[in-house]
Symmetry: C2
């Protein structure tokens, strides 16, 4: 085994024991069973019910958003948020190249095209300065909007993503969004519990979205939410995600092509119990970061991703960053750790390297290209520390 | 109160007691709590898990389909089934005007246009003879396909729906589908447990879809499934509904714009328990039909919808059909029953009367127009009889 792989395994075992251990397991040590039983007993397991209402209220209270609309998953949340940001067919939407595929997919569901931008080393999220430099060359004003001068398509929205839970540079991105008249839609799928300058991620943009998939910091099985401070957007989000049915004692009238994106009450019941434990999960993940820091301190070729300045991160997925001259050892480390029962993962394939998105417009991506060869996610479950 | 409304309330109370009673409530008297607890204890509540595998196997065994792919709801199932039937943007898809809005919505999600066709009085589903007459005028061959000569768009698929659980005329529709080279995709959302000539609905077409929404004969909270006998279609359905990720020990490679349409294991656990009780639910619903028949026998102005010849219906929603000359009393009956705590519902608004679909192509719809003014769904929960 190459020395860095061997040393990484030793550091992991020092921090979390011998394993085997998954990348991220949910933890159900609170009221999960009680609430789910209660939900079944009530017979309201489906698209309406008290747990859906409570989960939405609890999410709003937890994040400081005025409104939260629970939906079936994070992808659905982003799809509807983009529609509410008025993304239309043949628009372009600026998203990071370094993201989970759902970010790009949601743009496509709107009939629009993702336009990939580079990341910053200090946040792993969109780099506002690099994007500003790119748009200075690429974008030209047309009426109230800016168009991509190469494709002649309108730039319609800006979608940063908070990578592995670390807040991106929201100040810089908000300024850029204003200069280019782009609504900011935050893909905050991974960052429940992460703050930038004291404010919860997901609440900076016109809309923000969350995921509660099984691998997230809290889970509803599958689930997501749309956050917004705008009561009209919240009302429309609820309407569009519930088949766009107009209220009536019995008539079935739908005033647009809506979606069946409601979160079932059964899943919301799980979510209510999970949300109660979020403070404990956050504390555990922060302790785990400290342990990993100590364990990996002696290895010069790697560093741990820490929260950016001015931010509090949820440390959803702990992340090792290899030095440039050790990037060629990434696959050996991945192989050795996974074979040793310590589940690790690389970052996602960059979006423009995927078959469905290889022809999409993109900025120069030197930082994302470098990061993607050097990132390794470590076992991160709450309860490991 | 008008006499027919008064008589209807009396008949309902004779059949099911004084109420209050919902239109359709789920019933969780089996292993629901046990399986859901077990699922939570396993920590596999999300997109993979033994209950998903088991639910798919149980569904295949129950329906006789070779393959079942569990998904997040019936709308998602139909969306993916239409894509697998190669429905493309600017195609037309023939669907009934008398259906729930999800049928038309799923066509739109593909970028295609629903083309509405008439229903038959004896099945409440698509009338193959009326549709054949319409296509003789409207369709003209072009290469391997037929196009709508008015819109010049290709007719790409035929999507019958089994209304309230009653099988439509599958023989007639299969013959028509063959003559016009249209893949048949069965919207069998409502008809789990319904058979035509001994074969389960949902297994006649190239693909069939099911819904397990809270109001269906069995529920997973929210959920659905795609049925097919074709192993390649089943494999592609699973792939497309799980973000089109290619199998790999760690790399994230997605080879098309996929969907996040997986059914969570938590919901599948509920579904496994519900499916065990399907025979009991079916027996109860058949008894309820007999009770309603007896209770309404004295009312000349109404009849109960019974299973079409050669079919076994699941009697998902019991349905009263008013005589033509009593149609003007429908709203009075709806108002009186709902005010009296006996929840009833009219049929859906016909699709071409909805704002998003008013400009879509359509056949003459005299039967659907007549039926929609005369149908009333009665309280139908399993356990009422």
């Amino acid at each position: 085994m190459i020395p860095l792989a061997e040393a990484s395994i030793a550091a992991l075992r020092q921090a979390i024991g011998p394993g085997p251990v998954k990348l991220h397991e949910p933890r159900f040590t609170g009221n999960e069973s009680r609430y789910v039983q209660d939900c079944i007993a009530s017979t309201f397991v489906s698209s309406v019910g008290q747990y859906v209402d409570r989960f939405e209220a609890d999410l709003a209270a937890c994040t400081g958003a005025r409104h939260a609309v629970a939906v079936v998953n994070g992808t659905a949340a982003l799809h509807v948020a983009l529609l509410l940001a008025e993304v239309q067919p043949d628009d372009e939407v600026i998203v990071p190249a370094l993201t989970f595929v759902a970010t790009a997919n949601a743009v496509r569901y709107c009939g629009a095209t993702p336009h990939f931008a580079d990341s910053a080393t200090n946040t792993l999220g969109l780099d506002p300065q690099a994007l500003r430099d790119w748009l200075r060359d690429c974008a030209t004003p047309q009426g109230r909007h800016w168009i991509n001068r190469h494709t002649e398509l309108p730039l319609r929205a800006l979608v940063p993503m908070h990578t592995f839970g670390h807040p991106c540079d929201l100040d810089g991105l908000l300024a850029l969004a204003e200069d280019y008249n782009l609504p900011l839609v935050e893909d905050a799928a991974e960052s429940l519990g992460s703050f930038s300058q004291g404010r919860h991620t997901g609440t900076f943009g016109r809309l923000g979205v969350r995921s509660f998939n099984g691998n997230k910091i809290i889970t509803t099985g599958g689930g997501g939410a749309i956050l917004t401070d705008d009561p009209d957007l919240a009302r429309r989000a609820k309407h569009m995600t519930t088949t766009a049915k107009l209220p009536h004692p019995w008539a079935y009238v739908h005033d647009q092509t809506g979606f069946n994106y409601r979160l079932p009450n059964l899943n919301a019941a799980l979510g209510c119990a999970q949300l109660e434990q979020l403070p404990d999960f956050l504390a555990s993940k922060r302790r785990l970061y400290t342990r990993y820091q100590a364990a990996f301190a002696g290895l010069e070729q790697v560093r741990l991703m820490g929260e950016p300045p001015g931010c509090v991160s949820n440390y959803w997925l702990q992340t090792l960053i290899l030095a440039e001259d050790s990037a060629d050892q990434r696959d050996a480390i991945l192989a050795a750790t996974n074979e040793g029962g310590l589940m690790t993962r690389p970052a996602w394939t960059l979006m423009h390297r995927l078959e469905p998105y290889r022809d999409c417009p993109r900025a120069p991506l030197p930082v994302a290209e470098s990061l993607v060869r050097r990132l390794i996610n470590l076992p991160s479950s709450a309860g490991l520390a």
